[in-house]
């Protein structure tokens, strides 16, 4: 089936998430229902002189247990942590989709799994070995662990994907771009199915130092839109969807979770760290235009909501400019208040949150929002989630460099 434009319609038939508040979609959703914070004391490596001592780390992820079902990918156990997260989320998504793997028509499948930074922790370990411990060589798998396309390659090998397979890289918009590109490949008849999203695992000493030097991390917690907010909190994880041509999904009797009806992307082309109102606003507008709906048709908005002073104010202003009066009626939340900021993986995890909101009729809260910033005066669903019929949900991703990407999901087609 095609829309009035003659383009094919794209639906979601599987999703997977690995987050600090749940290692599967169900556990992640249950964590959000409880309003659970995934922020905890930083650990797992020597903290030395670090000043920021919190993060939203995934502390009890057993990759050996979770990935032992891998059939074709022989070295996933030796991969970087970010590839483990990708493989686990992809496994959950592909299982839910019910697609037969390896794919019968492998050139009609895509695997687009991005990462903001790839295997940075592998880099750190290798460089410590070389420069501090004077080791004569890095481990032979170092390079394969590091490269930012290794998660997509690992997952592509596991499921026998022979079509477009690569990573996207756009900092905090990485997953959203991956999902958007995959949507377009299906819509334009390049492929019929796609595994798309992103994974991130960069919490280590060097990355913490780099973020600390940028002075955008909070020492206390992630409190989007709150008066007390004083920075974001680094997170990690993966969010991955299985996208499919509507007819392809219907033919095999798949359960359709949602339709991906809109995708917009812009670049501020202005500043590396100071976002513009125009770029995010236009990305949201493009996504609505692409979906052929108006602002009032959106029932829930999952904000980028990083809890930095500048993002939350700027995003609020961009939403007001586009949504007009509907901005004040629209439930908006930042789930980063619970799962932290998983950088490139954020848009994937938040896409899962949007689809679950549609499926479950409940919108997740922004926790830690005791007193809002006077400049942030919209309905951010403070502290407690809300029962709500969600027909269409928007997910915002606005990255460093002014790289903006927005997705719009709707309930499954009738």
């Amino acid at each position: 089936m095609t829309n009035t434009n003659g383009a094919r319609r794209v639906v979601v038939t599987g999703m997977g998430a690995v987050t600090p508040i749940g290692h599967t979609v169900e556990d992640f959703w249950a964590g959000m229902k409880r309003g659970q914070s995934g922020v905890s004391e930083l650990g797992g490596f020597p903290l030395d002189d670090l000043k920021i001592l919190i993060a939203a780390q995934i502390k009890d992820f057993d990759h050996r247990a979770r990935l032992r079902g891998a059939k074709r990918d022989k070295i996933i156990m030796h991969a970087d942590r970010y590839s483990w997260f990708a493989a686990a989320a992809a496994d959950e998504a592909v299982r839910q989709s019910g697609l037969e793997v390896p794919f019968a028509d492998p050139y009609r499948a895509a695997c687009i799994i991005g990462s903001g930074a790839g295997g940075l922790t592998t880099y750190e370990v290798a460089y410590r070995d070389l420069f501090i411990h004077n080791k004569r060589a890095t481990h032979p798998l170092t390079l394969l662990r590091i490269i930012g396309s290794s998660a997509s390659a690992h997952v592509g090998i596991e499921y026998g994907v022979k079509g477009p397979t690569f990573a996207t890289c756009s900092a905090c918009s990485t997953a959203t771009h991956a999902i958007g590109i995959a949507r377009d490949y299906i819509r334009n008849n390049v492929v019929d199915v796609a595994i798309a999203g992103a994974a991130e695992a960069v919490i280590n000493y060097g990355t913490m130092k780099a973020w600390q030097a940028l002075h955008v991390l909070s020492p206390e917690g992630c409190f989007p839109f709150a008066k007390k907010r004083n920075g974001t909190v680094l997170g990690e994880g993966a969010g991955i969807l299985v996208l499919e041509d509507l007819e392809h999904a219907r033919k095999r009797g798949a359960t359709i979770l949602a339709e991906l009806i809109g995708y917009g992307m812009t670049s501020d082309s202005k500043d590396m760290v100071n976002p513009d109102v125009e770029g995010p606003r236009e990305a949201m507008r493009m996504a609505l235009d692409d979906a052929r709906i108006g602002p009032a048709d959106i029932d829930y908005l999952n904000a980028h909501g990083t809890a930095t002073t500048i993002n939350d104010r700027n995003e609020t202003n961009a939403i007001k400019e586009l949504f007009g009066q509907h901005a004040y009626r629209l439930p908006i939340s930042s789930t980063k208040s619970m799962h932290g900021h998983p950088l490139g993986a954020g848009g994937g995890i938040e896409a899962v949150a949007c689809i679950k909101a549609i499926n479950e009729g409940w919108v997740p809260p922004t926790i830690g929002l005791d007193e809002p910033d006077p400049d942030c005066d919209l309905d951010y669903v403070p502290n407690v989630g809300r029962d709500l019929k969600v027909r269409r949900a928007m997910s915002n991703s606005f990255a460093f460099g002014g790289l903006n990407a927005v997705l719009v999901f709707s309930e499954p087609p009738a």
Partner: protein, 94 residues
């Protein structure tokens, strides 16, 4: 079988998906189903264990690595060249 050979066989077994107990000096490496990535890891482990550096390029046919025995001979030759350094590394490895 001497200590060097025993250690090398131990390393080979560590990197095999299905380790076998019948490996001897005349066993051909091709019979062990060692793939290129496994070979890179085996070379790394052998270098670490014996404190040597094995000139090896994954792009070339490795004539020195036809059989387990040929690997053992090559390692022993490199250890002799490495001299005291090799001895020190052996001590470290044990």
């Amino acid at each position: 079988m001497d200590e060097v050979a025993a250690k090398i066989i131990e390393i080979l077994k560590k990197h095999m998906k299905e380790p076998r107990d019948d490996i001897n000096l005349s066993t051909a490496l091709t019979d062990l189903k060692i793939e290129s990535l496994d070979l890179a890891m085996i070379v790394f482990d052998i270098e670490d264990t014996f404190g040597i550096e094995i000139p090896y390029n994954a792009n070339e046919e490795a004539a020195d690595f036809k059989t387990v025995g040929s690997v053992v001979e090559r390692v022993k030759a490199l250890m002799t060249n490495a001299g005291a350094g090799g001895a020190a590394a052996s001590a470290k490895a044990s």
